[in-house]
């Protein structure tokens, strides 16, 4: 049995409407015979058959519109058996379904892409809203100037542009770099390992002094501390790291970071600012991660959207941030975007910390060293790795109740490290 399909008679022909059958079931046809007339965009076309045989069945009726390639008749060629006809008829039914159901598989694809897009939409909208909320006035900077400023770790908001409409040019950046860093100019031959030099040190200490002074003056802190059993988390991480090569391994502090970010999604009041006598929670969670500099001082650049990132992504981000913090390659947005701050003093051997909130934020989360401690659970004493987590909260914005909710959530997340 041969399926006679709607022929493609030109690159511009997608479908055809049957006008008339020139044959009926039982008719003998020869190669080259005209068996039907079909209406196309170009007009009515006679269509020919390319086999010799007997028309077994006509599958469409005058007025039916079908896509090119759709079976429209069955032709029995000589010597064929009845059984084949049945099989072909069954196939034909499937063909008809395709015809009724949807135009082509391409549509399915288009639909699924559309659905995918629709799913992406809220995220895009959120991004857009965030961008709008940021509301920063865009500074005009030439591409060359932007690149150079990045190399120098120079904050472009501090550079005065002399180009058209105040645009910042390469020369403006170079000038600003020289003015801002006399030390570098004097010792240009030194290996530029980071933001060194007396002026930088002085500037940083003054900035810390101003922020911490204001924090201590203005923010009524409350402190809550809890100790968290990390045995499950540590065990999971040890197993996980065994599977990984050195460069892909994850440090425990990343678990603490992710758990903090997730706990903040449940207690959003702690994520945000106190500005103009008003508590202003922020939706996006940008965790400022306090990094101590070897030459003294402290910077807490933001890890953007920490709640949305995987542990691997966070590990990469942290490595990158630490490197750039120490070499002086931070972007200005990273310096200002944090919505909450995390300090991890464990490496320094400290067991717990009670720090000052970085204004205008309303919370600071501190972790101490992970130490083996006696631990009682279900009336049994065991030795467990334990960490101390401390929350410093701004009492103007939240109360101890909110803070305890946060620590409870944090505890819960750290018991299920595999889900972080």
């Amino acid at each position: 049995m041969v399926e006679f399909r709607m022929p493609s008679l030109g690159t511009d022909m997608k479908k055809g409407t049957l006008v008339e059958w020139k044959v009926k079931p039982g008719d003998h046809v020869k190669r080259g015979d005209i068996i039907a007339e079909v209406e196309t965009e170009k007009g009515v076309i006679e269509i020919e058959v390319f086999v010799d045989g007997i028309i077994e069945k006509l599958l469409i009726q005058p007025g039916d519109e079908v896509l090119v390639g759709t079976p429209i008749a069955l032709i029995r060629t000589e010597g064929q058996q009845e059984t084949e006809i049945k099989a072909a008829a069954a196939e034909q039914d499937e063909g008809a379904q395709v015809k009724e159901g949807t135009e082509s598989p391409l549509q399915y694809k288009a639909c699924s892409i559309a659905a995918h897009r629709a799913k992406e939409q809220p995220e895009q909208t959120r991004e857009k809203l965030r961008a709008e909320a940021g509301g920063e006035k865009r500074i005009k900077v030439s591409p060359a100037a932007r690149k150079r400023a990045e190399e120098l770790g120079l904050d472009l908001t501090t550079v005065r542009g002399t180009g058209p409409d105040g645009a910042i040019s390469l020369a403006d950046v170079e000038k600003a770099a020289i003015a801002g860093k006399p030390a570098e100019r004097k010792a240009a031959w030194q290996i530029p390992t980071g933001p060194e030099g007396a002026d930088f040190q002085l500037g940083m200490r003054r900035a810390i002094a101003a922020a911490m002074g204001r924090s201590n003056r203005e923010i009524p802190h409350y402190y809550l501390e809890t100790r968290i059993d990390l045995s499950r988390a540590v065990r999971w991480l040890t197993e996980e790291n065994k599977k990984r090569s050195v460069k892909d391994r994850i440090l425990p502090v990343v678990l603490l970071l992710k758990a903090t970010a997730l706990a903040l999604t449940e207690v959003p009041a702690l994520n945000g600012y106190w500005i103009e006598d008003r508590h202003q929670p922020v939706e996006a969670i940008h965790v400022g991660f306090a990094i101590a500099l070897r030459q003294g001082g402290l910077i807490a650049p933001a890890i953007h959207h920490a709640d949305l990132k995987s542990l691997d992504e966070l590990m990469v981000d942290m490595k990158d941030l630490i490197t750039r913090t120490r070499s002086g390659g931070l972007r200005s947005s990273e310096m200002t975007d944090a919505t909450v701050t995390l300090t991890n003093l464990g490496d320094l051997g400290v067991e717990s910390a009670f720090g000052l909130i970085y204004p205008p934020q309303v919370a600071l989360v501190s972790f101490g060293r992970i130490t083996d401690q006696p631990w009682v659970e279900n009336g049994m004493i065991g030795i467990r790795p334990v960490v101390s987590a401390t929350l410093a909260g701004d009492h103007r914005a939240t109360d101890g109740r909110t803070g305890s909710q946060f620590l409870n959530a944090l505890h819960r997340y750290l018991q299920e490290a595999e889900r972080l």
């Binding site: 390992t193 980071g194 040890t238 391994r249 440090l251 490595k319 490496d347």
Partner: protein, 81 residues
């Protein structure tokens, strides 16, 4: 590989991590992390550096065998055959 070569490579990596460190006075048996004020990120970077330079993938469970310069040299010499 000779121990001096391994030591040179370790020093190279350490200089990147702690550029201000005076490695000439680094005690052989003192705790490396405390002496050089190395945090866990720095230590991981040291492990990654050794992996890249020497091709040795050090499992986490062996980290404590690398706590001093002397131990580190012993461990690496053994691993490098």
């Amino acid at each position: 590989m000779r121990e001096e070569e391994i030591r040179d490579i370790i020093f190279d990596i350490l200089l990147e991590i702690a550029p201000e460190a005076d490695l000439k006075t680094l005690p052989h048996h003192g705790d490396l992390r405390k002496t050089l004020d190395i945090d866990s990120f720095d230590f991981l970077n040291l492990m990654i550096g050794l992996n890249e330079r020497l091709g040795v993938d050090i499992p986490e469970s062996d980290y404590e065998k690398l706590n001093t310069l002397s131990n580190m040299l012993t461990y690496l010499s053994a691993r490098l055959g």
